[in-house]
């Protein structure tokens, strides 16, 4: 497939405005500025684009809700807080193709009649901040940002807002809290941010990759766009592949490419020709799959049928040398650290789960621990403001469902079935 999101990024100067324009960049913006805002929204709707941040909500529908709200100003926020372990798909856009994102945001702003935007960038990407700020400066200088963009009377101002190390701020309402200068904690919905968002005004929060798809939709039209990928989830998708594969990295492929193709055809297969043991398909919060589940198309429709989720499209591959109890423990340590503390089931439950996993991993597991883990996980599920608690619980339930033998071996033999000679430390 021809690359669009990662087009030209092998070029060392790909982040510069000159190179971007030279490769045809900002052509879609010029086209979009001739279009009525409502026509752009209709085009995005017809294209069938679904949000690439993890939830997969139809972007055109979100825009439609926001555009029907008569309150102004409206804010457009790019969610560049990719903090999910395994996920690094937005990084190449942020660091190597920033003008694609800016172009996508200006077109979106025109469609939504928003005059103020922010890129909420995770604090852990200091290099991306430098690149983005330079790109924004270049775009202002060339009139792609400002009060009168390309002389068409459309105004849009954009700046980078750097987060400070809180995974929860990837959740859109927590992100809004954070941009307002508060502790990033999720808000109860409704009202939804499209009506009551940043500073109480209509606010559209879209992922980096979602916004980077907009210029393509405008340039080739909804019909052609919908031919990429599969009919229920069209378009190109970035997959970040990591852990035990020969060629980890970010791959741009049609949505619906199977997990098997991603691992074996693109990422070079399991490292050292070892045996595939398990795959997390969409970032650490998506339930783990066994090798017999990898024939599945990677999209928002098919993965849920296999008991997992597409999430951010972050494929983590584990071979037979990896202790999955340890992976589960480390994942839970992450969720415990990142729980914002607002909801008791998540705040207390993630710590309790981590504690039990730690003792199993360390060779001190007790009979009944597996049932206890399941009981706690089910007591978190569906009882929190945001999906962080559900994600943490789903991880534990997924590992136990598919790899209960490994957990049992740890508890019964007080050691790991992978590293049989040693009791691994937690």
């Amino acid at each position: 497939m021809e690359k669009f999101l990662l087009k030209n990024i092998e070029n060392p100067s790909s982040a510069s405005l000159e190179e971007y324009v030279g490769a045809g960049g900002y052509g879609s913006l010029n086209k979009a500025l001739q279009m009525e805002p409502s026509d752009i929204i209709a085009e995005v709707k017809a294209a069938g684009l679904r949000g690439r941040g993890g939830a997969g909500f139809p972007t055109g529908m979100k825009w439609d809700f926001a555009s029907r709200d008569t309150k102004f100003p409206k804010y457009l926020i790019c969610n560049a807080d990719e903090g999910e372990p395994g996920t690094f798909k937005d990084r190449p856009i942020l660091e190597k193709n920033p003008h694609l994102l800016i172009e996508g945001m200006v077109i979106s702003a025109h469609a939504l009649k928003s005059e103020r935007g922010y890129i909420y960038l995770r604090g852990e990407y200091p290099h991306a901040r430098i690149v983005l700020e330079k790109a924004i400066e270049e775009a202002y200088a060339k009139g792609y940002l400002g009060d009168n963009i390309a002389g068409k009377g459309v105004g849009f101002h954009l700046s980078v807002h750097q987060g400070a190390g809180a995974y929860i701020c990837g959740e859109e309402t927590a992100l809004i809290d954070s941009i307002e200068g508060r502790r990033g904690q999720p808000r109860i919905k409704p009202p939804f941010p499209v009506n009551v968002g940043a500073w109480g005004m209509p606010t559209i929060v879209n992922n980096v990759e979602t916004l980077a798809n907009i210029p393509l939709i405008v340039s080739i039209g909804a019909e052609k766009y919908a031919e990429i990928g599969n009919p229920e989830c069209p378009g190109p998708k970035l997959f970040s592949v990591s852990c035990c594969v020969e060629r980890p990295g970010v791959y741009e492929l049609p949505m619906g490419t199977t997990l098997k193709e991603i691992i074996y055809d693109h990422a070079g297969g399991v490292r050292g020709g070892r045996e595939l043991k398990a795959v997390i398909p969409g970032g650490i919060s998506t339930p783990v799959l066994t090798p017999d589940g990898i024939d599945c198309p990677m999209d928002f429709v098919n993965l849920p049928k296999r008991g997992s989720m597409l999430g951010s499209g972050a494929v983590m591959v584990f071979d037979d040398t990896v202790c999955l109890v340890k992976v589960c423990w480390r994942a839970m340590k992450f969720f415990e650290h990142e729980s914002c503390g607002k909801c008791t089931p998540c705040r207390e439950g993630t710590g309790w789960l981590r504690n039990i996993l730690e003792r199993i991993e360390g060779g001190f597991g007790r009979e009944g621990d597996i049932e206890l883990l399941q009981d706690i996980a089910l007591s978190i599920t569906g009882k929190t403001f945001c999906p962080l608690g559900d994600g943490a619980a789903g991880v534990v339930l997924g590992f136990i469902k598919n790899f209960s033998d490994e957990f049992m071996y740890h508890i019964t033999n007080k050691k790991c079935m992978v590293n049989k000679d040693s009791q691994s430390a937690g």
Binding site: G123, H127, A164, G165, A166, W199, P248, C340
Partner: protein
Amino acid sequence: MDIFEEIRALTEKYPDRRGALLPALYVAQEDAGWLSQEALDRVSNALNLPQATVKGVATFYSMYKHRPMGRHLIQLCTNVACMIMGAESLVDFLKGKYGLEPGGTTVDGRFSLVIMECIGACDRAPAMLVDTDFHSDLTEDNIVEMLEEYK
């Protein structure tokens, strides 16, 4: 421009002054390497926000530091991908080589070490940030070479 003015200038990007709080805390932190009570008070004065508001926000986010750091801050990721690729042995290695514990600072004040939750470089694990520089594909051999650049 002193940091008071720099912080005041940040408010232009937001509809209200509180919006500038996170970037203001970064400005104050860059000034001294950490956020002392005096630095928090300065942010509070510049943005005209209650001290409790400023402290409440500053303590929520993990990248704001509340005690003095070494001259160079090592933020090493040990999350799943980095763990599988050997980050834990690097933690032990730093302990042995520099006497550097997670959350600690070397005796000579050269390095501080913070364990980080996912640095977004899982394809090049294990990875770390030293100050704002990114380093990946770390091993016991190359980490020393990389750290030698920071005096």
